[in-house]
């Protein structure tokens, strides 16, 4: 009888473990699904226009955080840039902002990209820190460091993956089949390494340089919603009209959220 009680106690504990399991998955409202069908119209460069602009920051840009790389001696010795890529810019201009056409391209189809986009792990950082690819385009991920990295993508709409690259020079290729702004990348070995990838079904996107400038060329004439995304400051959108042969200008100004 007592023996049976003992087994019952342990059985209850095991069942309690199983029953207690559960939890919330994080939701990500910044993702979108791909348009259901490709359109027939193509862009005529002769009638296209351009979009250029600037992303600014109001107030004093937070100081870039120094990354502590001493958990890996190879990183600590070889890194040439130990500053975080979150806040980049000067004189009120903001870099590493992903700017893209969010709406207005329905009915167009675009040539398939043939060149891969490269994401490099160099100096125990991702280069570039923010980048974009097309749906289906090859993303070439390279380890240029004499230490090992894992590449862990945590998308919401696309498939999550986590790959190891233990040897310098290793590379592998990956592609994404869903539109998603943005797909975060991280290295779980080196907790400071992160990067963001925008996946779009058209070629009209850019990442601002340190001077906050961006250019998007060969846009068909029309009305568009342009979105600017920053990893810490969120998103902003603006409406813009592009005319044949013209260059529409748009600017965004971010502030620290209250």
């Amino acid at each position: 009888m007592q023996q049976r009680s003992l087994w019952t106690v342990f059985s209850v504990l095991v069942i309690a473990t199983a029953v207690a399991c559960g939890g919330g998955e994080d939701s990500n409202d910044s993702t979108e699904s791909a348009p259901a069908a490709a359109a027939a119209a193509t862009v005529d460069p002769a009638t296209a226009g351009n979009l250029s602009g600037m992303v600014m920051f109001e107030g004093e840009l937070p100081a870039a955080e120094e990354l502590m790389m001493n958990s890996d001696p190879v990183c600590a010795m070889n890194a040439t840039n130990t500053m975080s890529g979150t806040y980049v810019g000067s004189d009120g201009h903001l870099g590493n902002v992903f700017v893209y056409v969010k709406e207005g391209l329905d009915g167009y189809s675009f040539p398939e990209p043939t060149e891969p986009v490269r994401l490099n792990q160099e100096g125990c950082r991702y280069t570039p820190h923010v980048l974009g690819v097309r749906v289906g385009q090859t993303l070439q991920i390279v380890n240029s460091d004499p230490t090992l990295h894992n590449i862990h993508a945590t998308p919401a709409a696309n498939a999550e993956f986590n790959m190891g690259q233990p040897v310098q020079g290793m590379e592998f290729e990956q592609s994404f089949d869903q539109v998603e702004v943005m797909v975060p990348f991280k290295c779980d070995v080196h907790g400071w390494m992160n990067s963001y990838l925008g996946v779009l079904d058209h070629p009209y996107f850019a990442v601002t340089a340190q001077d906050g400038m961006f250019d998007i060329s060969t846009l068909p004439p029309g009305d568009y919603v342009i979105e600017a995304w920053h990893e810490a400051l969120g998103t902003q959108t603006q409406n813009v009209t592009v005319t044949t042969g013209g260059t529409a200008e748009v600017s965004f100004t971010f502030t620290i959220p209250s």
Binding site: Q2, Q3, S5, L6, F10, L13, V14, A16, T17, A18, A20, C21, G22, G23, G24, E25, D26, S71, D72, P73, V74, C75, T147, L148, N150, H152, T154, E160, N162, M163, G164, P166, C187, D188, V189, H190, G191
Partner: protein
Amino acid sequence: MTWLHWYARLLCVATLLLIVAGGMVTSTGAGLSVPDWPNTYDYFMFAFPLSKMVGGIFYEHGHRMIASIVGMLTIGLTVWLYRREPRQWVRRLGFIALGAVILQGTLGGITVLYFLPTAISVSHAGLAQIFFCLIVSLALFTSAGWRNIQELHRHEPVRRDAVIVRLATALPALVYIQILVGATMRHSGAGLAIPDFPLVFGGLVPSTWNFSIAIHYAHRLGALATAVLILATLGHLVAHHRERRDLLHPAWALVALVIVQIGLGGWTVLSQRAAIVNTAHVAVGATVLATALVLGLRINRHRFPDAQPLKHKPKPDGLTETSALSAGLA
């Protein structure tokens, strides 16, 4: 048998160390720093170079190495029990512990390969505590104090005290549930859902609710309930069983541990989940559970098969069943 008891104690320490190592993996966010399993970056686990144990790999691969040692020690314990332990139910417990550690390793692998799903990670954390309880129980069951059945008559007042039996039986169950709630909070990223301590958004009850806040608040209420139950158990022991030092010592230890544990819980929040503080909270939680379990088992000593009255079954050598057991354990 004494050596067997000390071996079981060693395994208790190794298991607690394993829980600490696992806690550091979660606290440092290193759970996926080794993407493959059971290999490590395509190396056979034990052949992975020490020089490559950098960053998050130090914690994740270190956790796997300690787990392997605990697994091997558990095999040793199970074999030892099987060959030397006369009590069948203790031998069976050894096999259950072996099954638990194998399942635990498999859960650890699954949670890595499937990118740390909350349900699997919480199961991994919960089974770790069950395995720890099994090893602690085996250490207790093989101890000289437990095997000293000549002293069982001293247990009569406790056996007849329904209040202390209920308190001490409920306590480890409550602590275990509290640990599961904490693990769910931790693995669902709700550790800072309530950012202040000891207050809750400046008051006593959250003004807004979602899953994260609810699970976090439940963990705080659970801590309060655990502390009350521990104090009630101690109070009852002091009032009615003052002569039982083997019960009073773990009860006093529980009071000290729960104070430290609540302090560490608050510090975890206020330090924004500093890895070492957070892990210490996990480790002390496991220690509270183990101590509550030892107290509960000692108070329920009369329920175990080797504590039953003499059955006077003649053995071939003329000894009774119980006295044969005593002779075998001496």
